[in-house]
Symmetry: C2
Subunit: 214 residues, 2 copies
DNA sequence: CTGTACTCTTGATTTACATCATTTTTTTTG
DNA sequence: CAAAAAAAATGATGTAAATCAAGAGTACAG
């Protein structure tokens, strides 16, 4: 749980590199897609964090309370991945990361970036929970493929390493459903399976289309 | 998605404050509950990240590939919240955070801690997706209550700010299910509702018990 | 105020997936 | 290489929550 900074911590931030902003109910702190500028600590009030899903409707990600820090969603890519609205009159305290970063060695900048990525991936994992079993499995496979590709590995064939049961646990589905859906994908010639645990992506584009289709 | 460090980045880490560890398939890098020691970058192979849920069975959180960094789960509390197993022979590169931290000003240490918390909260949010509508709602209410309490606010009465629809979106439930379940909790005198959007927790202990019950 | 539009509630029906039950296949091991 | 154990496949059945539908309360705009 994202608990808080102590009042003391916030004071320290205040002294260092920040200033305060007043938000009226309904006002926006930052919007998804705009370029990353700062982290913010909520000083008073509450804000709502939302994200446009690909059907272009808003998913509610959560609400943040005083002492909690928002903005990590923008660190990894340099663009905010979410939108922040005040749901009551609120004060936020700006943490200008670029100023902070001047005093941070490169390694820990990288770490913060990674933390930001992990946070975004968590949001993604949650959004996957909203869709059908079929889409969840495809999502998982394409996510893996993408990560392999990004590292210079083969994106179209890879080891699963997980049993049907573990995969089900990961995707909140039963082992039976995983088995059935994977076989269905194979019958449809969208993927093929080698030795139960090895996946070949046969129709990457079609798989992607299934994900964006209603 | 938790993408990777570039090979270059890993080299930099190597030079600074790290050394490499070889893990055979099935070996454990760290266990849930043990005290935080380092972050690790996966250099080769793949590892599985799992977490014991309160029924004491293992939830699979995900797998990590080369270039990705693990261990953020231990930063916030000082205790790892997950367990890492190698699922094939793997090399990991230790990032001794305490050494890195000597060069980091206090503010950014705090930020990293917050990032760690956000990551853990994401895991928690995902685990909530596995339980019944009733438990999901109770979980949400108790999480909010806890966060208010932690900040010195009243833990037993607070504003929801979200509509039934938004709450449903947040918890992956329909607005109708939210309405029904909240009313049921009120009829059972576990909570009471003021003006639709304001919650009073009446039976904190009983609510907690419902969460741990099968 | 008074019409218009959300939000919430409540009931009836449907459905996607879980669960249960077997069988088949694969892996492990003595 | 058998025997035992674990994992996977597959069919039958059950169910929690979604969806559909309709009415009641509440907000708010002209």
């Amino acid at each position: 749980m994202p608990y808080g900074l102590s009042a003391n911590d916030i004071d320290k931030l205040d002294q260092s590199v920040s200033h305060t902003k007043l938000l009226q109910k309904g006002e926006t702190l930052y919007r998804q897609g705009t370029s990353f500028k700062s982290l913010y600590a909520v000083k008073s009030g509450s804000v709502k964090i939302t994200s446009l899903n690909q059907e272009a409707s808003e998913d509610v990600i959560g609400i943040y309370l005083p002492g909690e820090i928002i903005g990590f969603d923008g660190i990894a890519t340099g663009e905010y991945q979410c939108t922040i609205h005040a749901i009551e009159t609120s004060n936020v305290c700006e943490i200008n990361l670029s100023e902070v970063q001047e005093n941070i060695p490169g390694v820990s900048q990288q770490l913060l970036k990674h933390a930001g990525r992990a946070i975004n991936h968590g949001r993604y994992a949650r959004s996957v929970a909203k869709v059908s079993a079929r889409k969840r499995i495809i999502s998982f496979l394409l996510d893996l493929s993408d990560r392999y590709r990004h590292r210079g590995y083969l994106a179209t064939e890879f080891e699963l390493y997980l049993s049907r049961g573990e995969l089900g646990n990961l995707l909140n589905l039963s082992a039976e459903t995983i088995s059935r859906e994977i076989h269905k994908l194979e019958r449809e010639k969208l993927i093929s399976i080698v030795n139960k645990r090895r996946i070949q992506i046969k129709q990457m584009d079609q798989l992607k289309e299934i994900l964006i289709a209603p």
